[in-house]
């Protein structure tokens, strides 16, 4: 870790205690168990329970909070501002996205600066949201979106994208539609929907035996379910093309199933705002 003059510096090197626990037991038995039935009792194509709420940050123009299982993400959207270091005239505005894990969010402690994974996730998040935002309504300006993962229970990127979409709608940024996102993982011929952290680790590792099927990898698909459009498809790993087709169909259905949750949250937000206006009149 580099020396940081703006913070209190602790030890130069620190290792989490979990490295020294017995890994062999869990590693050998876990794949066999989760391949038949998942640890938390879900079926392979079930989603975890979702809680969403808007208007959680008063300083931001729009904000949202989402819980998907253990994963907790908070997102804030700020007013259009000038794009730094830009002199060209452009008809489209820009979207600035920052994806960040809190230091306490993962099993291993994260540093305060963005690392390579977070920067990549920021770009993925930006590509997911750009098709949905009417960027021609604020030319030459940039809308800031900040997503902070408070607890990483798996599928944090998908949760952050949904949270950002809600926050943008809460901020009254014009949008063509709402963005929902679901992630999936493959291990051999088994597909997991809405992964947990353990399942993500499992799908990221290649199977031990070299016999086919040899699939392993993670997929994140963001979509506009109201218009049957996919805004981002993010794949890491090695997966057969037939399995990818199957995954796209499953993820599209899952995105459609999630969309009513987001819509109802927005309707509640609007009704709450209308009630507040009526109370102010009286």
């Amino acid at each position: 870790m580099p020396f940081d003059q703006k913070r209190i510096n602790g030890p130069e090197v620190s290792v989490p205690y979990s490295v020294y626990t017995d890994v062999n037991k869990s590693k050998s038995s876990k794949p066999k168990k989760s391949l038949h039935k998942r640890v938390d009792g879900r079926e392979h194509k079930d989603l975890r329970k979702i809680f969403v709420k808007t208007g959680v940050i008063s300083q931001a123009k729009g904000s949202a909070y989402i819980e998907v299982g253990i994963t907790k993400v908070v997102c804030s959207v700020f007013d259009p501002r000038e794009i730094p270091n830009k002199n060209e005239y452009s008809l489209q505005g820009e979207l600035f996205c920052e994806f960040k894990y809190a230091p306490f969010a993962c099993a291993k402690r994260r540093i305060h600066q963005q690392d390579a994974e977070e920067k990549e996730f920021s770009l993925v998040m930006q590509r997911s949201l750009e098709p949905a935002v009417c960027r021609q309504e604020f030319p030459n300006f940039q809308v800031d979106v900040y997503a902070l993962v408070l607890d990483n229970g798996g599928s944090s990127l998908a949760a952050a994208i949904m949270c950002a979409s809600l926050a943008l709608a809460d901020a009254s940024v014009p949008m063509f539609g709402l963005v929902t996102a679901v992630s999936a993982g493959f291990y051999k011929d088994t597909m997991f929907l809405d992964l947990t952290v353990e399942e993500e680790v499992l799908c990221n590792s290649a199977p031990a035996k070299p016999n086919p099927p040899n699939n392993h990898g993670l997929i994140m698909q963001a979509a506009l379910p109201q218009h049957d459009q996919i805004s981002e498809f993010f794949l890491v790993g090695s997966i057969n093309i037939d399995c990818i087709k199957q995954a796209i169909e499953t993820l599209t259905v899952a995105n459609k199933n999630i969309c009513p949750v987001v819509q109802q949250c927005l309707v509640k937000t609007v009704l709450r705002a209308l009630k507040r206006k009526e109370q102010e009149k009286n």
Binding site: F138, D170, L224, H227, A273
Partner: protein, 198 residues
């Protein structure tokens, strides 16, 4: 909309109705594949004319308004130069901006007549509140302003003692306490504003 009083709530991307000669998309909506969709999370409003009805969606928050050419804006003068003065745009019409934007007012755009004889130091001073019109955009983040109309110019100015001055003529403002006169490009404001300022 007239029959029932309950507001119609919509979310972004929700299909509202068919787009034809009768139903026309208005602000807060867009048209795609022959249908009108909503852009915002808010309430649907139908504005009915003789033959057509405009579908509008009003968001729950004030829209982030960006100045457009032709708008009348309220700005505060920050820096005065021989050739131009820099301003900060505070309001667009009646809407207060949450984020200030930069504007520039050139010497040639201060007056409609006798442009060569204009002197910036006799028209504006830092801290003045002015009404101006936005000219077409030439630079990326700086809005060109113009006060070359009778109704545009300095609206609120403070004297050296910090008292709001009263406009006396087209080019002069007077301090009500010390009776000193200062030169400004005065806007022709409705007298109600003068009463409110006192």
């Amino acid at each position: 909309m007239d029959e029932r009083n309950e507001p119609i709530v919509c979310v972004p991307g929700q299909r509202l109705c068919l787009s034809d000669k009768v139903n026309v998309p208005g602000p807060g909506t867009y048209e795609q594949h022959g249908y009108i969709y909503s852009k915002l999370a808010g309430v649907v409003n139908l504005v009915k004319d003789e033959h057509k009805s405009t579908v509008e969606v009003h968001g729950i928050r004030e829209q982030s308004i960006v100045p457009a050419p032709g708008d009348i804006v309220t700005a505060e003068v920050m820096v005065v130069n021989q050739r131009f003065c820099k301003c900060v745009i505070k309001c667009i019409g009646d809407v207060v901006l949450t984020r200030p934007y930069r504007g520039i007012l050139r010497k040639e755009d201060v007056r409609a007549t006798e442009k060569d004889k204009t002197e910036m130091y006799k028209s504006f001073k830092p801290g003045d509140i002015i009404l101006a019109r936005v000219l077409p955009l030439t630079e990326v983040h700086t809005y060109q302003l113009s006060t070359a109309e009778n109704e545009l110019g300095v609206v609120i100015a403070h004297s050296e003692e910090g008292v709001s001055m009263v406009p006396v003529s087209w080019t002069e403002m007077q301090c009500p306490e010390t009776l000193n006169k200062e030169l400004r490009k005065v806007a022709k404001v409705v007298p109600e504003h003068i009463v409110n300022e006192k």
